[in-house]
């Protein structure tokens, strides 16, 4: 079975659009707190207005991404992606780093890939390159994270996970998750599960269709668990948005 590039791109648009919409709504809901962090020497009220305008624009741009670009708007499809890319760059400059950490980084990569792919009408190879960019970032993100954990003895012995589950920062832990820290065996098993999944993720590009689906399902479970336990809900959407690109390369 194969995934048509148009379907892969559509699926990425929907998932990415949902992630951008969620971020915009969440930041709007706490814009005063966000403005305090990025105002620098600028007036507070101006910063709140700037942030509100920024998020409203991103919210508006996410809607056609989710709903589908009409025939008319599809002509200016690259403009949508450029606007979101420039907007993300502006937020990074104002906050001295990605607003949402790794989730923003991956959403940015997906936007870059979609921008490249949108020029596929000029040369179809650009569609493959764009989807390839997104798939490569997805695979790299897991593999490099797994490699770093493999080199960290605290991860191999389950101590890193135990420390995380017992900590009071920086992640806002789901209360019942703390009880997992009492079992060293469980922490070791979970740690090795994460490491093997991450290190083994590049194999998804070589697996048959059913194997790909199984691997990506495991990935979604991983991100849902992180969203529930650590509060990293935007990561779920950011990485899910890359999965159609991974499926495309079958």
């Amino acid at each position: 079975m194969t995934l048509e590039p148009a379907i892969a791109i559509r699926a990425i648009q929907i998932l990415l659009g949902a992630g951008i919409l969620l971020q915009a709504i969440e930041v709007l809901a706490t814009r005063s707190g966000h403005a305090l962090l990025c105002m620098g020497n600028r007036p507070y009220s101006y910063t709140v207005q700037w942030l509100t305008a920024k998020m409203l624009v991103r919210l508006l741009l996410s809607i056609p991404l989710i709903g589908g670009l009409s025939q008319t708007l599809s002509v200016i499809e690259p403009v949508f992606y450029m606007a979101l890319i420039i907007s993300t760059g502006g937020l990074v400059l104002r906050f001295d780093g990605p607003l949402g950490g790794g989730s923003d980084s991956m959403m940015f990569q997906a936007l870059v890939g979609l921008l490249i792919a949108s020029f596929g009408v000029v040369n179809p190879i650009l569609t493959r390159i764009g989807l390839g960019w997104i798939a490569a970032q997805s695979v790299l993100s897991y593999f490099l994270a797994g490699l770093a954990k493999l080199r960290n003895n605290n991860w191999l012995t389950g101590i890193a996970l135990q420390t995380l589950l017992r900590s009071n920062g920086p992640y806002v832990l789901l209360a019942p998750a703390r009880s997992l820290a009492t079992s060293q065996a469980l922490c070791v098993a979970a740690s090795w599960g994460v490491i093997l999944f991450e290190i083994g993720f590049p194999a998804v590009l070589l697996l048959p269709w059913d194997g790909k689906l199984a691997m990506l399902s495991a990935g979604m479970f991983f991100h849902i668990a992180n969203a529930a336990i650590l509060g990293l809900n935007r990561f779920m959407w950011a990485w899910a948005a890359t999965y159609p690109a991974v499926l495309y390369f079958n």
Partner: protein, 146 residues
């Protein structure tokens, strides 16, 4: 400043994908109130919000703001850890320090007229004692954050 901006943009295009690897050292912001010359005990700042629940799977605005604030706290700790005495003075006059003051004002409770607050940056490690990295000057605690 331009170099930092360019570096941040470069990292956006070429992310390292190297995070969530080491939780052994984390950083914490403690605060204390000074009222009529009496200093309270140091208390870690805590966000008291309702999203420590499964609902944050779908919507976690305050949790994500807290994560961002923790990022600023980590940045401040890293800046101080590599700074000389001169560098620490520079930090006190910088935007990052001001952001921490605003985080405190947003999070600490209602103050009485004349109250002051102080904050400190602490490095925590399960296998070691907490290390105090920086103690701020005293600031007036007031209802307005700015």
């Amino acid at each position: 400043m331009i170099t930092t901006a360019l570096l941040n943009i470069l990292k956006l295009f070429l992310p390292s994908w190297n995070f969530f690897n080491d939780f052994s050292t984390s950083h914490r912001l403690d605060e204390r109130t000074i009222r009529a010359g009496h200093e309270s005990d140091w208390q870690p700042i805590r966000e008291d919000h309702s999203t420590r629940s499964i609902g944050r799977l779908f919507f976690n605005s305050r949790g994500n703001l807290e994560l961002l604030e923790n990022t600023f706290i980590d940045r401040a700790a890293q800046e101080i850890a590599v700074s000389s005495a001169e560098g620490v003075k520079h930090f006190e006059q910088g935007a990052l320090h001001d952001s921490l003051v605003r985080i405190l004002r947003r999070r600490i409770g209602a103050a009485q007229a004349g109250d002051e607050f102080q904050f400190r940056l602490v490095s925590t490690n399960p296998s070691e004692l907490d290390a105090e990295l920086f103690v701020s000057s005293r600031y007036p605690a007031r209802k307005e954050i700015l």
